[in-house]
Symmetry: C2
Subunit: 253 residues, 2 copies
């Protein structure tokens, strides 16, 4: 029976000798025999096994998984099915990521949607905001007036940090959303708790369940708000709305 050296096998298979040594080291493909000076010699059985390895590797399976399959510990079809699911998840993640990156590019390039700091300006006295009228209609004069007083009483430094605080909360939420957390999960609800406390300071009063849920709904109802949130991450507006509703139901009902 013929045998082949590392270099010969590597050329036949189109891989590097280093790869063959690696597969030996991790026990995935051991040579049929080793001769003088540790020289590796591969036989037919090893070539066939290598072929299986490369076939499965091309499908993106991990080397350890491949080893389990070839050693009979795993069913090929079952392993491939699990792998296909992971691929699908990864593809969806990439899709969302690509969409967010594209949005960010557009936002940086030109017409950027309403920045977060413009909302609270709607509550800032002295500025005529198109959102102030909307706010008075939604939450009433008392709430808006309290908000104006609260923002006026802030130190300039504190006011200056408001945009950053918004950004921080959005980023944390987007990270959770992209990690696959549901809007009702603990980690997400903890962020919403921060968000609620922040709104409480902005409004100068604790939002009622209804007011807070209304604010959440505004994020998906008003295209300007939706654009703002979805520029951070696709679907963030709806995600935040759901999280706010869930939080309000749990803590304000």
């Amino acid at each position: 029976m013929r045998t082949w050296t590392t270099a010969e096998v590597s050329k036949m298979a189109g891989i590097s000798p280093r790869t063959l040594r690696h597969y030996d080291a991790i026990g995935l493909l051991e040579p049929a025999a080793t001769g003088h000076g540790g020289m590796r010699h591969y036989g037919h059985r090893e070539l066939l096994r290598l072929q299986q390895i490369l076939l499965l590797r091309r499908l993106g399976l991990a080397l350890e998984t491949i080893g389990d399959i070839l050693d009979g510990g795993l069913d090929t079809v079952a392993a491939l099915r699990r792998h296909a699911e992971q691929l699908e998840g990864e593809r969806e993640r990439l899709d969302r990521l690509a969409a967010t990156v594209d949005d960010t590019i557009r936002q940086l390039e030109g017409g950027q949607p309403m920045a977060p700091e413009t909302w609270f300006e709607g509550l800032d006295a002295g500025r005529q905001s198109e959102y102030e009228a909307e706010a008075r209609r939604r939450w009433g004069d008392a709430v808006v007036d309290a908000g104006e007083r609260a923002v006026k009483q802030m130190s300039p430094a504190e006011r200056a940090r408001i945009p950053a605080r918004f950004e921080e909360i959005h980023q944390r939420l987007a990270a959770r959303m992209e990690a696959g957390d549901g809007s009702g999960d603990d980690a997400v609800q903890a962020i919403v708790a921060d968000h609620y406390r922040f709104m409480e300071r902005l409004w100068g009063t604790a939002p009622t369940a209804e007011a807070y849920k209304g604010l959440g709904s505004l994020y998906t109802d008003d295209p300007a708000f939706t654009a703002t949130y979805d520029a951070v991450a696709h679907g963030l507006a709806a995600y935040l709305r759901d999280a706010m509703h869930a939080w309000a139901d749990r803590h304000l009902a």
Copy 2:
């Protein structure tokens, strides 16, 4: 000016203290000051920088790239555009991969397409193959008769290795295709050279340019062949056909 400790910053930002230490270690985000026992203290500037970092990180940029951007060495939009291209490429790769995995599952589960070893059986005397008639029509009696003699003269061991040789060539080709190589690239043409030499041994005679190109065309014209190749990797049949045509034009013309 207030400062924050590692734990405080990590809670605010929703990341681990270890991550902050890592960012310090690689020079991406250094604390404003370090006190007793090496305690890290972060100020406003650092918090703002961290926010930028996390924003760009969410978009999938490498930490080194983020550092370059924040230190002014890279244009944000340009970097994002390059990144978007990479994402697109990655997404396409995943799509092809997922399709191939699905095909493989279907193939393993049931109705598998014609296996490579069945072709040469068409040249194997004693077996009546539906492909033999097709072969005689395409290449003539002389070629097919020579092929039958050649295969008969092989040792059983050599015959037994034929399927494996086919598999090997297909895998190498698929790997090149998925690596993005063109069908005329040197690495691909080298594989085709192996393929030609192999066919030469199977046929017992050196295929003419016309015969070899005809064989390549058969791979995309006959659905059974196409299915076989595309089960290895989507688009492999057309890829191999193009590579064979290019090789024949260069070496047999």
